[in-house]
Symmetry: C2
Subunit: 356 residues, 2 copies
């Protein structure tokens, strides 16, 4: 018996997990800072082609408060070729077709990838060709690819599915996420249309510059996991118009101009709404929240008052998935539902003889 009967005996020291950070924007930098606090992770490289980042010390580029002796490389290929690492944390953009060549480079260098690319969170349905290519190449090189983040990746897909585990006959899933963007990044406020005229919002929406990417991916992961064959998927995106003046650090919004957006996707199966995801991101939100409702036996309603803070939670999820991806027995293109993601550092207890 161990002397403290409530502790599992310590295991042999593990090798640290070696990471390269590809993209040192807001999310990428937060992941870097978080990895620095994790004893099981060793940062061995960084890549960012932006002139404001390339060439800097990573500590400076990521606002880590100290230098790290790691130069942010402008070009990915030489670093991926020359530096040994287990995982590349990739945080470049939402469009899978845009980042696809980067992902192929990474997995071809025999490194796993965790990416915040929204369209990678569940790409099988909308981009089957790219999905198959990524999966095949990752299997060839024996690595894993995972797209994740708070949304898509967690609050509107993975967490509802985990909760659905506790219900017997799930008839429908509804998730509502209401975010106050007033104190958030300028980039996020811009993405939801803050300060635009209604006409400007519509133009931005038509051009694909306004709106959240990932609602469809979340819906498709839910429907596929629940084996709901969808007859129809509809998406709506509308501006929320200010009734009074709103001010943020970056914008002043007059009455009649846009303070944010409301975006919804609905999935119908046999004429019945089986999934609905409602997202509101705006200024002047009274009651920010996440609410998950599962119509099943038992019915389940889960409320997260205030809602999960997006950037912090995304950085946490990406970082906590690093050991999960490294220790995964599966290879290839994975999604959040495919691996145990509980953020434990140590592998599950093993029979002692395996270490002797």
């Amino acid at each position: 018996m161990p002397d403290k009967p409530w502790n599992v005996e310590p295991y042999v020291t593990q090798e640290r997990i070696r990471t390269i950070h590809y993209g040192i924007g807001a999310i990428g930098a937060e992941v870097v800072r978080l990895c620095l606090s994790r004893p099981e992770i060793e940062i061995v490289g960084a890549i960012d082609s932006h002139p404001a980042k390339a060439g800097l010390d990573l500590g400076e580029a990521a606002n880590a408060g100290r230098t790290l002796g790691i130069n942010v490389a402008y070009e990915a290929e030489p670093l991926l070729r020359d530096v040994y690492a287990d995982v590349v944390v990739h945080s470049i953009g939402s469009s899978l077709t845009t980042v696809y060549p980067q992902l192929i480079s990474i997995i071809s260098s025999e490194k796993s990838v965790i990416s915040s690319c929204e369209e990678l969170s569940f790409p099988w349905v909308r981009q089957p060709e790219i999905s198959r290519k990524l999966d095949r190449r990752a299997r060839e090189t024996g690595v894993r690819i995972l797209g994740t983040g708070v949304n898509p990746g967690f609050v509107m897909d993975f967490l509802p599915l985990v909760l659905a585990t506790a219900s017997q006959q799930v008839r429908s899933i509804h998730v509502e996420r209401v975010v106050d963007v007033g104190s958030r990044r300028m980039q996020l406020q811009r993405k939801v249309g803050v300060g635009l005229s209604v006409e400007g919002f519509q133009r931005g929406a038509n051009e694909g510059n306004i709106g959240h990417v990932g609602l469809r991916e979340s819906l498709l992961m839910l429907a596929d996991s629940m084996a709901w064959r969808l007859d129809d998927v509809t998406e709506t995106l509308e501006p929320l118009v200010a009734r009074r003046r709103h001010k943020t650090e970056f914008f002043s919004v007059e009455r009649g101009y846009v303070r944010g957006l409301r975006q919804s996707v609905r999935g119908l199966s046999a004429g019945r709404e089986v999934v609905r995801l409602d997202l509101e991101m705006s200024l002047g939100v009274k009651d920010p929240r996440d609410v998950i409702r599962i119509d099943g036996t038992p019915p389940i309603e889960v409320r997260i008052p205030g809602g999960l803070q997006g950037d912090q939670a995304t950085a946490a999820i990406v970082t906590n998935c690093i050991p999960a991806v490294v220790h995964s027995r599966a290879v290839g293109l994975l999604t959040m539902r495919d691996l145990p993601v509980v953020p434990y550092i140590r592998p599950r207890p093993q029979p002692r003889e395996e270490f002797e």
Copy 2:
């Protein structure tokens, strides 16, 4: 491209998963009824040594509303030896030392086990010898063992760990579960002391007949997963005394007698409380609920108004874990944190050539 671009193409038909049901009590019977509704599951056997169950048709024993042509066997060994199955659903009791011989029989017959045995939910710390033996035998025969249920197994351990994935620096986890047992099973009302005198409650608690089993297992899973080395674990169990008369289908409780219990475990690490689990199960509850609070960055509070309905949720979790356990790449003694449990029937999309 598929004709409906939001559906993954259908896969080849899978073999149905063959189950044997060992223990047809309240939970076991509910799992049987649920399995009957699942096209991917085929029930092939049943075991219950209770004279009220053995010899009956399983449909009758499980109140399924129809006969199934499956006889409930009194003895386990011959059935386990002669009937091919993938998984045995085991629902006999809370004590791991009591059910250990049954579990060894099952895994020795090369069948995986999912058990509602509370002490099996995270047995590594309190029962390391038994854990190692189960793990070794299951690895030898290539099968999996999982202990699960709503609590332990979900609301006080697995779900908080999933939520902790979204927080950067988790300092502590607090879970509160408040259950109104007024309309629940007699066995449950008895287990929490309903109708006893305070003296009777204390005696029952001392003899181990009163109280919830599993709080320590949940605490230990949390602490181990978060790599918190515990200095001390304390547990308290106290009666809740009725201030007015309460009536249920099974009990009438006078003022001054016990209407339920409050049970808590606390884990300290470096002198700081890192885990606290508070469970109240009683009559006359005003606001039944589950609340999970994670002190981290971001802080996360999750509320489940009404709380997860225990028996329904346990049956759901056990049943939904059947495909997860069958498709798990890991073998041996598993816990909820070790496998992807999202209740999807289909394996993740595979490159088509694997099927051609």
